[in-house]
Symmetry: C2
Subunit: 405 residues, 2 copies
């Protein structure tokens, strides 16, 4: 009986109502998930009250890690650099499933119907498709760009992928100089289109917010590629040579600290804002005819080019030499005047501005100061700071309903 | 001891893990909330698995009821025709707060910062602002359009409101023939602009998906009003007389079964799709210059004009005489050909097509058959049906991050 009694009290303790109510109940449509790169963890914030909700650890090497959300934004699917996909439960704050997709991975997307995850891999070059429920691998598509007579296959690194409203997945082949399209609706996930010779080394891409146009950036070509996903007829060349004279005159070619794979070019007011790779400027294109409207100087090499919801401003972080002013500066471009209206000294290694869903606040990782800063976007004033361990990418869960994010 | 033992078993029962896990845990970013008009209830669905999650009752007279979501999509704020606002907890499936905003209300919006709710009222004519946490009324703005020497005030019915990226609220004065703008950022919520004589009887409005342009429909004028919310300079007249000849030739003027207050005009591919009030057609405008591109005949009087995510189709429900084919038909317009590509006989009183966030499925209320139907949008095939009591408006919780919805 004494045993029974003590069991009773243990049970009382375990079932105590105070413990039950301690657990915060929350909706998932406006979470902010911050990658803590070195620790292999993510920190999850409520972006209404700006409160830390919890942390999930043990996600692997999160250098260049990125993530997508399940449709209901309950789960984040995080791809680590070592090819490990983690399905993170943002309510339970734990890893619900984990799988090794490849040896070295770079990008991730979720299919329109929420059923599958696609991962782009450097090694072995190709893509891996996983079931979003179990993370079981259901298909591997090698990015074979050349097959030799002896059967040896040369595989390309891939970059992307992006999902479309027609339930396609699109990705680039870096060495293959190609863009491939996979139909996620069809049995066996066939590659339905292979666009060859699109240009030299696809490295970054973007889908317009309406989901129709796919754009691919090319490291060593004088153009960008444009694919109309309604037609899927050709990757057209958008000439970007207009910006060359500016580069030569200003001698602005700068060191590239890393290659962006960001899918974060901006579209606002019928204009596309594209970071000029290896230059200290943003190129603004008129999306009707893809002419260059303006080339806007910014503090450093732009990395993330993020449109504030409502389209009235574009926020840009900058990469620069360690310790430079450049790497502390976040530039705010006015879409009306197409010039920098405000430069914020956000701290050492400030990067990846990410807006709340309606844009009244923005989260910024200040990597070298081990903190996440939240700014009021009307006043540009600091609202709050949180300690975070080498924070990098920040992802708002309203991406769950957006194509290509 | 016997008492203690029995308490122990009661406790065991209450704390039983099976009961704890019975309660479904879910994210809130892709819920589908269906108004059951006559019963004063809402039915809540998971739009990934297409499962009924629960019902919340006791919300009042839900004729023409509409709702908005809190930023995290945990709450739906439902405005009943009798002026009662209910804050519905979509996780707990209960009413968390309730307030009487007016005697007769028509529309609702939530401010950009998630802090306030605005309700438009027929009686007394004006708007009411409530705290979104407590539903405490914080401000009433009478829509006074005329003040007589003896102090008597003539008030107008209001319609709207819509929220903007600059944290404004915009609404129309039906008898006042005016559009007013309230600044939700400023202390006391001042009316910062009053645009007078915009046209005869504003009845419906819309904000473009980018959040920049506000459009107002006018019952008895030959134009629509257009306001650039970046400039707030003037409500410009967009001439709609081009459609008159078509009306006269075809003698298409039909009975109006009710006045829409829907905020659901469609924008896709640079075109605006607007229901022609009291006609059996959709007018397509080029948004660059607001010329009429085409007038597309549909089965009946169009009510909801809803763009499928990705912008490749526009789905239209139709109002018609009770028992007519018109009121059973949902027309699917191709944005590429600007013609009806598919007509679905969705049942008696089919209305309010509402897409899942990425558009692979659509929910339709079939009011006179007491059911909600879910269609696959690739095949136009029925996926599932649910019993529902006189369902009307359907609201997807991804509206939480959209302006004007």
């Amino acid at each position: 009986m004494k045993q029974l009694l003590s069991a009773f009290f243990i049970l009382l303790l375990a079932a105590s109502p105070s413990q039950a109510t301690d657990k915060k109940v929350y909706g998932t449509a406006s979470l902010m998930v911050v990658v803590e790169r070195e620790k292999g963890s993510v920190a999850v914030f409520d972006s209404i009250e700006h409160e830390l909700l919890g942390r999930v650890e043990g996600l692997g090497n999160l250098r260049h890690a990125t993530m997508v959300f399940s449709r209901d934004a309950r789960y984040a699917f995080v791809i680590a650099r070592d090819g490990v996909v983690s399905k993170v439960d943002l309510l339970g704050m734990e890893v619900e499933a984990r799988a090794k997709a490849a040896e070295n991975s770079i990008g991730i997307a979720i299919s329109r119907d929420n059923k599958y995850i696609m991962v782009c891999n450097y090694e072995p070059g190709g893509v891996t498709i996983l079931d979003s429920g179990t993370l079981k691998i259901v298909k591997e598509i090698p990015a074979v760009m050349k097959e030799f007579p002896d059967g040896t296959k040369l595989r390309s690194r891939t970059v992307g992928p992006l999902d479309t409203p027609d339930n396609l997945m699109i990705f680039g082949l870096m060495e293959g100089n190609a863009v491939w399209v996979v139909d996620m609706k069809q049995e066996g996930f066939p590659v339905i289109k292979k666009f060859e010779e699109v240009g030299d080394t696809p490295y970054d891409q973007f889908i317009t917010p309406d989901g129709r146009y796919y754009l691919v950036g090319l490291l060593n070509s004088d153009w960008m590629g444009l694919l109309d996903t309604w037609k899927l007829d050709a990757v057209k060349k958008i000439d970007v040579r207009e910006r060359r004279p500016a580069i030569k005159t200003g001698n602005e070619k700068v060191s590239v600290y890393h290659i962006p794979h960001l899918e974060s070019w901006g579209v606002a007011n019928g204009l596309a804002f594209v970071p000029a790779f290896g230059e200290k400027r943003i190129i603004v294109y008129d999306m009707d005819n893809w002419s260059v409207v303006k080339s806007i100087p910014v503090a450093g090499t732009p990395l993330f080019v993020v449109v504030r919801p409502g389209g009235r401003e574009v926020w840009v972080d900058n990469v620069g030499a360690p310790g430079s002013a450049e790497e502390r500066t976040v530039d705010v471009i006015s879409v009306e005047t197409l010039s920098v209206k405000k430069s914020i000294d956000a701290g050492k290694g400030a990067l990846d501005p990410q807006f709340t869903p309606k844009g009244e606040a923005v989260y910024i990782s200040v990597r070298e100061e081990d903190k996440v800063a939240v700014y009021d976007t009307d006043t540009y004033k600091l609202l709050k700071e949180f300690p975070a361990h080498k924070p990098s990418g920040i992802f708002s869960s309203d991406r769950a309903s957006k194509f290509g994010l």
